[in-house]
C-alpha cells in the first residue's frame, strides 16, 4: 500500500487537491457501512460498497459544482460532511463502538488473506496505470489549457486518476481505517516536497517515507496497543515534521543558516 498510495498523493498535492483525498476517504464510508449492514464484516461487500460510494462522490462533486456553478471545494465539503454523518449513523445502527472504531481507524488484526490480496492487487494496478499515465497526468497538472488545446483529454485522465485514489482508499481501509487511509496517501507526498525538486524525485522520496512510516507505525501499533491507522499516520506525520524542519528543499532549518548569495 505504501508503495502505490503516495504516488497518487503526490499528484493530489500538486493539483492543490490535498483535501480531495480526505473527502473521498469520508465518501467511501457510507458505502462501506452499507456493505456492513447487508453482510456484516465481509470484505467483498464492504469493498464493493465503498467503491461505489467513493466513485459516486468523486464524479458527483465535480458534476454538481459544474452544474450549479458553485465552487468545487464547497460541494466537496458538503458531500463529505453528509457522507461521514451518514456512515457513522449507519454503522452505529447495527454495530457497536468496536465495529465503528475498526472501520474508521483500522485494525491490522482484522486483515486476512483476502484483504492482503486486495491491497497487493490494487497497489500493482495503481503503479502500472501511473507508469502509463504519467505524461498526461503531469501535463494535465502543469497546463490544463494546453492539454485541452492539443486534445489530450485531460478530464478522462483525471477521472481515471480519481478512480485509482478511491481504489487505494478501499484497499487500505481494513488495515488503516477509512479516515486514516488518507494519511498514508497524503503525508508522505507532502513531506517529499522537501526532499526533491522534480516530480520523479518526489515520487521516490514519497514512497520511501511511506514504507518507513508504515513499518514503524505497525511496530508501534503492535507493541503499544494503538489502532494501526493512527499509529501509521502518526509515524508519517513525524516524517513530515522532520522533513519540514530539515529537508534540503525549503526546509525551515535551512532558512536559519545564512549562506552568502551566489555571484550570478
Amino acid at each position: 500500500m505504501s508503495v502505490a498510495a503516495p504516488v497518487l498523493g503526490l499528484f493530489l498535492m500538486l493539483r492543490r487537491m490535498s483535501l480531495t483525498a480526505d473527502v473521498l476517504g469520508h465518501g467511501i464510508l457510507p458505502g462501506v457501512a452499507a456493505g456492513f449492514l447487508l453482510a456484516g464484516l465481509s470484505l467483498p461487500a464492504m469493498a464493493a460498497g465503498g467503491l461505489v460510494a467513493g466513485l459516486a462522490v468523486a464524479v458527483g462533486a465535480g458534476a454538481l459544482s459544474r452544474a450549479t456553478g458553485g465552487r468545487e471545494d464547497a460541494s466537496l465539503a458538503a458531500l463529505y460532511l453528509v457522507a461521514l454523518a451518514a456512515g457513522v449513523a449507519m454503522v452505529s445502527w447495527r454495530g457497536g463502538a468496536v465495529e465503528l472504531t475498526s472501520l474508521l481507524f483500522g485494525s491490522v488484526l482484522g486483515v486476512d488473506d483476502a484483504a492482503l490480496l486486495l491491497m497487493a492487487g490494487s497497489a500493482s494496478v495503481t503503479l502500472g496505470v501511473m507508469a502509463l499515465a504519467w505524461r498526461p497526468l503531469v501535463l494535465e497538472c502543469f497546463d490544463p489549457g494546453f492539454a485541452q488545446a492539443v486534445g489530450a483529454r485531460g478530464a478522462w485522465w483525471h477521472m481515471g486518476f480519481l478512480a485509482l485514489v478511491v481504489l487505494n482508499l478501499i484497499a487500505a481501509f481494513q488495515a488503516l481505517g477509512t479516515l486514516m487511509a488518507v494519511g498514508l496517501m497524503m503525508l508522505p507526498a507532502i513531506a517529499a516536497r522537501h526532499w526533491a525538486r522534480g516530480v520523479g524525485g518526489m515520487a521516490y522520496a514519497a514512497v520511501g517515507i511511506a514504507a518507513a512510516s508504515a513499518y514503524a507505525g505497525l511496530l508501534l501499533s503492535f507493541h503499544a496497543d494503538v489502532p494501526s491507522g493512527p499509529a501509521v499516520v502518526l509515524a508519517a506525520g513525524l516524517c513530515w515534521l522532520v522533513s519540514t524542519l530539515c529537508g534540503p528543499v525549503d526546509g525551515l532549518l535551512g532558512r536559519l543558516v545564512r549562506r552568502p548569495h551566489l555571484a550570478g
Binding site: 500538486l14 502509463l132 499515465a133 505524461r135 498526461p136 503531469v138 501535463l139 497538472c141 502543469f142 497546463d143 490544463p144 489549457g145 494546453f146 485541452q148 488545446a149 492539443v150 486534445g151 489530450a152 485522465w157 525538486r197 522534480g198 516530480v199 518526489m202
Partner: protein, 246 residues
C-alpha cells in the same frame, strides 16, 4: 506544411448568450500574417479560442482550422509552480506526435534543445520553470510552439509585459514562421507595432469593423467606432434576429 485557408462564415461566439464575437465573416489566407486589434472586451481572445476549437460558435461556421492550429493563450492557465524542467515543458509541444505513451527519444529531445536555443534559452534545459522570469517563461512557451510545428499559429497578446529585447526576439520568431509559409494571427494592442510589422489587420469590436490591409483598416474613424461599440452594453438585450447573407 502548407496551411489551408481558414474561412469564417457568419460566426457568433457568446458567453452565457452575450455575444463576444458577433456575425463575423472573412478569411485568413494561407501564409498570411494578421494582427487582431480592438478594445478590451472586443472578443479578440474569444475569436482565437474559437479558431483553436476551444469554444464552440453559437452560429456560423469556421472551416479549415481544425487540427492544424497551435494557440498561445494570453495568460496561460498553467501552474508555474509545478516542478517540471524547461526541457520537459517544451517537450509537451510534441504531444500531437507522441501522445500519451509513445517514446520521445533522442531526436525529440534534440529538437526541444534546439528550440530552447532558438528562443535564446541555451543551457536552460534543466532549470525548473518556476525559477524563470516572465520574459524567460514566454520564451519557453514560444519554444513549445516551435515544437508543435503547426501550420497555423495563434498568439494572444504575445508581447505583453516583455522588455524590448525579449519582444524583439519573439517578433523575429513570428517573422520566421511567416517566412516559412505558416498562417500567423496575433492579438495586439500596440498599433505602431501592427502598422510596422503586420501586413493584414482584423479590427474587432464584437462585430468585425474592418478586415484587410493594415493601412486601410486602422483609420481613425474605424478606431473610434470600435471604442463606441465595445463600450455599448444593454442591460436587457433582445434576442438577435440578424441573419447576414454569407
Amino acid at each position: 506544411m502548407r496551411p489551408a485557408e481558414i474561412r469564417l462564415t457568419d460566426v457568433t461566439v457568446s458567453h452565457a448568450r452575450r455575444p463576444a464575437v458577433h456575425h463575423v465573416s472573412g478569411r485568413f489566407a494561407p501564409g498570411s500574417l494578421t494582427a487582431v486589434v480592438g478594445p478590451n472586451g472586443a472578443g479578440k481572445s474569444t475569436l482565437l479560442r474559437a479558431l483553436a476549437g476551444l469554444h464552440r460558435p453559437d452560429a456560423g461556421r469556421i472551416e479549415g482550422a481544425a487540427g492544424q492550429v497551435a494557440l498561445l493563450p494570453q495568460a496561460a492557465a498553467l501552474d508555474r509552480g509545478f516542478p517540471v524542467s524547461c526541457l520537459d515543458a517544451v517537450l509537451f509541444g510534441l504531444w500531437r506526435e507522441a501522445g500519451a505513451f509513445r517514446a520521445i527519444g533522442a531526436a525529440g529531445r534534440g529538437r526541444a534543445l534546439a528550440a530552447l536555443a532558438a528562443v535564446g534559452l541555451d543551457g536552460f534545459a534543466g532549470r525548473p520553470v518556476g525559477s524563470l522570469s516572465a520574459g524567460q517563461f514566454q520564451r519557453v512557451l514560444f519554444a513549445r510552439l516551435l515544437l508543435q510545428d503547426a501550420p497555423v499559429i495563434l498568439l494572444d497578446e504575445p508581447f505583453n509585459a516583455l522588455d524590448a529585447r525579449t519582444a524583439a526576439d519573439l517578433l523575429a520568431m513570428v517573422h520566421r514562421w511567416h517566412g516559412e509559409g505558416r498562417t500567423v494571427v496575433a492579438v495586439l494592442h500596440d498599433l505602431d507595432l501592427v502598422r510596422r510589422e503586420f501586413p493584414d489587420t482584423l479590427l474587432l469590436a464584437r462585430d468585425c469593423l474592418g478586415w484587410g490591409a493594415t493601412g486601410e483598416v486602422l483609420t481613425a474613424a474605424n478606431r473610434l467606432r470600435a471604442r463606441m461599440m465595445a463600450e455599448a452594453w444593454s442591460a436587457e438585450p433582445e434576442a438577435c434576429e440578424r441573419r447576414d447573407a454569407a
